[in-house]
């Protein structure tokens, strides 16, 4: 694997040629927000929070899906990027009903964290407040569409790591929803292995363990790389 050199915020940096920009940026200790990105599954490029400016490109590029290139010059925190990131969070907060005060992941939520981090102290857009249901038919987990940001982490982890593909997205645009099976109650889906990976990777309170009360649902994202590394190194014999 060859090595390329590039500039990130005017600092000269070297990277492996198969790396994506996001990885290299984070290796430099630069904090760049993401919501749909998840270590261990494929990238989507959907949340648009990791957009960066690349000199010579008229478009902003999502760092999670953009491969590094020799001689690239990347800026991660220009004034407009920060402003756009803030607006994207505002849009996400307005899309469904994220009433943090009464949420199971209050205090452990990535959306809430990013909003505070980026200084979103209010939302200028109309709260859309769609009427969505909550699926509590599964023995162990609950899916609350009202708090879903459609990052598709659950869909990808169910497909790529667990191999069950119980979850997918139906519809399109603002009517997109995470579905289980043929949009049936989760509890009726025979393909679900009840592994709980989807719950652990969900950045918000859309997926949680049953019985969690406000602020009780903490997630463990790091377990995914633990599983994947272990699998690769064949740490388990069974």
């Amino acid at each position: 694997m060859s090595v390329v050199t590039l500039h990130i915020n005017d600092e000269l940096v070297s990277a492996r040629s198969d790396q994506k920009l996001l990885e290299v940026i984070r290796e430099q200790g630069i904090d760049i927000p993401t919501l749909c990105h998840l270590e261990g599954v494929s990238d989507l490029g959907g949340c648009r929070l990791c957009l960066v400016e690349v000199q010579g490109s008229s478009k902003l590029l999502a760092a999670c899906v953009t491969p590094v290139q020799e001689g690239m010059s990347v800026y991660t925190h220009s004034e407009r990027l920060v402003r756009y990131r803030r607006m994207i969070l505002e849009l996400l907060l307005s899309e469904r009903t994220h009433t943090c005060a009464v949420c199971v992941t209050n205090g452990h939520c990535e959306l809430q964290y990013e909003a505070a981090e980026l200084g979103v102290d209010h939302v200028r857009y109309e709260y859309l407040a769609p009427q969505l249901h909550l699926d509590a038919s599964h023995d162990r987990f609950t899916l609350d569409h009202n708090r879903c940001i459609l990052c598709q982490r659950c869909v990808r982890v169910c497909d790529e790591v667990e191999g069950a593909h119980t979850l997918d997205i139906m519809g399109r645009g603002a009517n997109s929803r995470v579905i289980t099976g043929l949009n049936r109650p989760w509890g009726d889906c025979v393909s679900c292995t009840s592994c709980g990976k989807c719950v652990q990777v969900c950045p918000t309170g859309a997926l949680f363990f049953k019985g969690s009360s406000v602020g009780e649902m903490e997630k463990r994202h790091a377990f995914l790389s633990w599983i994947l590394n272990g699998r690769e190194r064949k740490e388990w014999q069974w």
């Binding site: 648009r48 994207i88 899309e95 399109r172 645009g173």
Partner: protein
């Protein structure tokens, strides 16, 4: 089939056609069929059989002739007479036409005539549509008789793939799907891309409301598209092509399917095309109703049977497209330009149009204009010529207000820019785009915020939902436009509108989201005072919007007023 056989086939067909005293060409494309062309054709065939005119008169169902709002249309080619076009043809009129033209001393009727020298025809230049309306799209022989597949034969025999790419580059042809990327450059990229298999896709998912150029081309001259694709396949080294046809176009799909079958049977497609070592197969994929599938990465996902969601570029389809292989995607109309370029030479083509936009462009002229229909004009013609000369101006004594080009990705062009030449760069400067070629004319009864709302609603419904700016941004923009058109907007909404638009343009994942704010931004730019009238004076200058709501702060007074009016109503009754 080889090249001499192809030429012989054309010769035979030409002789056959010339043996008739007169040929009645009846338009059988969707708009004319909708206004009764089927009955006209049936009646004519029946009538000719009854009167035993078979030897003298040939009735042919053809593709589109152009002035769709005047359909059903019949063109008559008579030996010893100028060609004439009849409009609004009824079965009764058709009988009279046949009688009069098939008579030993043929004469044109003086009713329902469309003058051949009228500006509608005179100002057009038909390159892509040169066969449209003159040939039977269901017969391969008709196409071959007009030189069809000659370009493919020439390319296979006399040109290397590199030379074909060079010719296309020299011609200056740019993608007709809207963005205007140089076609030759794209072909060359795919040609050079390493890959065990390569693919060619013709994008016929024409989703812009008010645009039907691709459908017409596929319906009227399907072989033209197939030939262009085959030449592309030869140039880039692909053996498989797909035509992605919009689900709403069943006739186009049927004719293409029929055309592919006929061409394969005659060895013009399939294995060893025209006895060369080049093989090329074409399959049809039917879309299922998703505008976003016009975006190339989404279209490829759809061809592979998946949800039509775009994926980030790079990698571009030219490097990694269908099944990870290099893939050439061009619009159907772009492929329609290929055969004429090879036939007549790149220099001939480059002489048409303007400096940076070469050739001709097909437009679907619609809206409040006297004659609507399908036109092909050289690049650089002014909007005024299109609307007032070709289209015959605004009917009912109303005033021109705006021309919308490029559909939901384009913009509205006001009267002061009517003299702008129509080419990629001029339209872009005006905040619109060429787009695939929809051109909708609006008179002064159209309310611009309402028009912007219409397009935003379109984009909102068609957003795939993958990226946040487009998925939620379109909904928020639509909400604000709704507030503006129902009277509940505040001056701050204008800022939010503008800011959201710019953000969506820059941050959305694909072209749909990036261009969704264009209609809104262009109306903001040229018709700002109309927005202000809605917000500050709470009135709609065009009289379209109901304005029956109030801004949030006035809701209290409004509730009281409504409560009072309902109680007083009750008292009266």
């Amino acid at each position: 089939m080889n090249r001499p056989e192809l030429q012989a086939m054309g010769e035979r067909e030409r002789e056959r056609q010339q043996s008739y005293r007169c040929r009645l060409l009846c338009c059988a494309s969707t708009p004319c069929l909708s206004s009764g062309a089927t009955a006209v054709i049936e009646t004519l065939k029946q009538f000719i059989k009854e009167r035993e005119l078979d030897a003298n008169v040939l009735v042919t169902a053809t593709g589109c002739m152009g002035p769709c709002s005047r359909g059903p249309l019949v063109t008559v080619q008579t030996r010893g007479l100028e060609d004439v076009v009849y409009e609004h043809v009824t079965p009764e009129l058709a009988r009279d036409i046949a009688l009069s033209h098939a008579a030993p001393e043929p004469k044109a009727l003086d009713r329902n005539l469309l003058a051949a020298d009228s500006p509608f025809f005179a100002k057009q230049k038909k390159v892509v549509l040169s066969n449209s309306g003159l040939i039977d799209p269901e017969r391969l022989e008709c196409y071959v008789a007009r030189g069809g597949y000659g370009a493919l034969a020439h390319a296979l025999r006399e040109m290397t793939p590199v030379e074909v790419c060079e010719a296309i580059t020299r011609s200056g042809l740019r993608g007709r799907g809207g963005a205007g990327y140089p076609t030759g450059l794209k072909w060359d990229l795919v040609r050079k891309a390493p890959g065990t298999r390569k693919f060619v896709i013709a994008n016929g998912d024409e989703g812009d409301p008010g645009a039907y150029m691709d459908r017409t081309l596929m319906e009227s001259d399907p072989h033209r598209v197939l030939e262009g694709m085959a030449i592309a396949g030869y140039a880039v080294g692909a053996e498989q092509g797909y035509i992605y046809v919009r689900g709403e176009y069943p006739i186009a799909a049927k004719r293409l399917e029929n055309a592919i079958r006929m061409a394969e049977r005659r060895g013009l497609l399939g294995g060893r095309v025209l006895d060369s070592s080049f093989s090329f197969r074409i399959d049809i994929r039917i879309g299922a109703g998703a505008f976003v599938c016009g975006e190339e990465t989404a279209l490829m996902a759809s061809v592979m049977g998946r949800r039509g969601q775009p994926s980030p570029r790079p990698p571009y389809p030219a490097q990694s497209g269908l099944w990870g292989m290099p893939t050439l995607i061009n619009n159907v109309e772009t492929f329609g330009n290929i055969a004429p370029i090879i036939d007549n030479g790149a220099e001939w083509y480059a002489a048409i149009g303007t400096d940076k936009s070469k050739g001709t462009k097909i437009f679907a002229l619609a809206g409040t204009v006297a004659t609507t229909g399908l036109i092909e004009v050289p690049m650089g013609i002014s909007l005024r010529e299109i609307i007032f000369d070709i289209g015959g101006g605004i009917p009912n004594g109303r005033a021109f207000k705006a021309a919308q080009t490029g559909g939901p990705s384009g913009g509205c062009i006001p009267a002061e820019h009517l003299d702008t030449p129509v080419d990629y760069d001029s339209l872009r400067r005006l905040g619109s785009i060429m787009g695939s070629g929809g051109l909708v004319v609006m008179d002064d009864t159209s309310c611009m915020p309402d028009v912007a709302k219409f397009f935003m609603e379109f984009c909102m419904d068609e957003s795939c939902g993958k990226c946040v700016p487009c998925r939620v941004g379109t909904v928020q923009l639509h909400r604000i436009l709704e507030h503006i058109t129902n009277g509940s907007a505040t001056p701050r909404d204008m800022e939010t509108l503008q800011e959201l638009c710019v953000m969506m343009q820059e941050t959305s994942l694909c072209g749909l989201g990036q261009s969704a704010p264009n209609p809104l931004l262009s109306t903001l730019r040229y018709f700002r005072e109309e927005y202000q009238a809605h917000i500050l004076e709470r009135s709609c200058p065009a009289g379209k919007c109901t304005m029956d709501n109030v801004p949030p702060l006035e809701q209290g007074a409004d509730l009281q007023r409504r409560a009072r009016s309902t109680t007083s109503d009750a008292e009266v009754s």
